[in-house]
């Protein structure tokens, strides 16, 4: 096993564990915004790590270009989708969760 393969295996392992952590975050966090927080950050970094690990396995130029393109697209599209989701939640009047269950501010009207 060469050094590059060890790096690849480490990156793929770390990335897949990060994606598993994302899944648990979305599954167990208490409210919409905290779940969104887990989904937007963990998945974007996790997929980049896994694909970087695959990049270390080598291949011809088209393979490298495709991997870089996938990382690039997800780095743009995933935060945009997360932003749009958070915005939709805020506009529709979902109130952020705080410990103790009290509203953090004045009650919000839907569509405000």
């Amino acid at each position: 096993m060469s050094v590059l393969e060890i790096v690849a295996a480490a990156a793929i392992g770390l990335g897949s564990l990060l994606m598993l952590a994302t899944a648990f975050g979305v599954a167990v966090f208490p409210d919409f915004y905290t779940r969104l927080h887990a989904a937007g950050k963990g998945d974007t970094l996790g997929q980049a790590l896994v694909l970087a690990g695959l990049l270390c396995l080598g291949g011809d130029l088209t393979l490298v270009v495709k991997l870089v393109l996938i990382v690039f697209f997800i780095f743009i599209f995933n935060p945009t989708a997360t932003h749009a989701l958070a915005r939709a939640g805020w506009v529709s009047g979902i109130v952020p969760w705080v410990r103790g269950g009290q509203d953090p501010g004045a009650p919000r009207e839907p569509g405000a």
């Binding site: 697209f73 743009i76 599209f77 945009t80 932003h83 749009a84 915005r87 506009v91």
Partner: protein, 160 residues
């Protein structure tokens, strides 16, 4: 359908359209040795217009792919398909026998023309599929005020 209030979504949608269309053309060209071809490339191409219409509003997307451009493209794709098939027939082969287009019996030349014919067919399929998909989306997402105008024009034409 109005545009979203979010500047980020609108900007990303607008800027990613050329990338999506370029990728659709790549998919179109790799129908032989990859998961591609006319159907898939056409759908990806149309999805760029769908994204524009969703994020920037119906009118913005419709201006990028107007009806007077899409409506002739629908039958044009079928005509390309039929034309290549008939051209092979006229060149002395069977219907859609691309090799006959070469006009020579050299197997190497015939193999090249087989590729050209196949790509031509795929282009025809892609033109029709992408035009049909974009038309489906824009017709179904038509806002009420545009629908009212279309209805009024239709009624006036009926009365005349």
């Amino acid at each position: 359908m109005r545009s979203t209030d979010s500047l980020i979504v609108r900007y990303i949608a607008r800027r990613s359209v050329p990338f999506i269309q370029l990728y659709a053309l790549y998919v179109l060209g790799h129908g032989e040795d990859g998961p591609g071809g006319g159907f898939q490339g056409g759908v990806i191409f149309a999805s760029s217009f769908v994204l524009l219409g969703l994020a920037n509003g119906w009118g913005y997307g419709r201006r990028a792919a107007p009806a007077r451009l899409l409506d002739p493209l629908l039958p044009l794709g079928c005509l390309i398909y039929l034309g290549i098939g008939l051209a092979a027939l006229l060149a002395g082969g069977a219907f859609l026998e691309y090799g006959a287009l070469a006009g020579s019996d050299d197997p190497e030349v015939r193999r090249h023309w087989h590729h050209y014919g196949l790509i031509g067919i795929e282009v025809g399929v892609m033109v029709t599929v992408s035009a049909a998909m974009a038309t489906l989306f824009f017709e179904m997402a038509r806002p009420a005020r545009v629908q009212a105008r279309v209805d009024r024009v239709g009624e006036e034409a009926d009365r005349a």
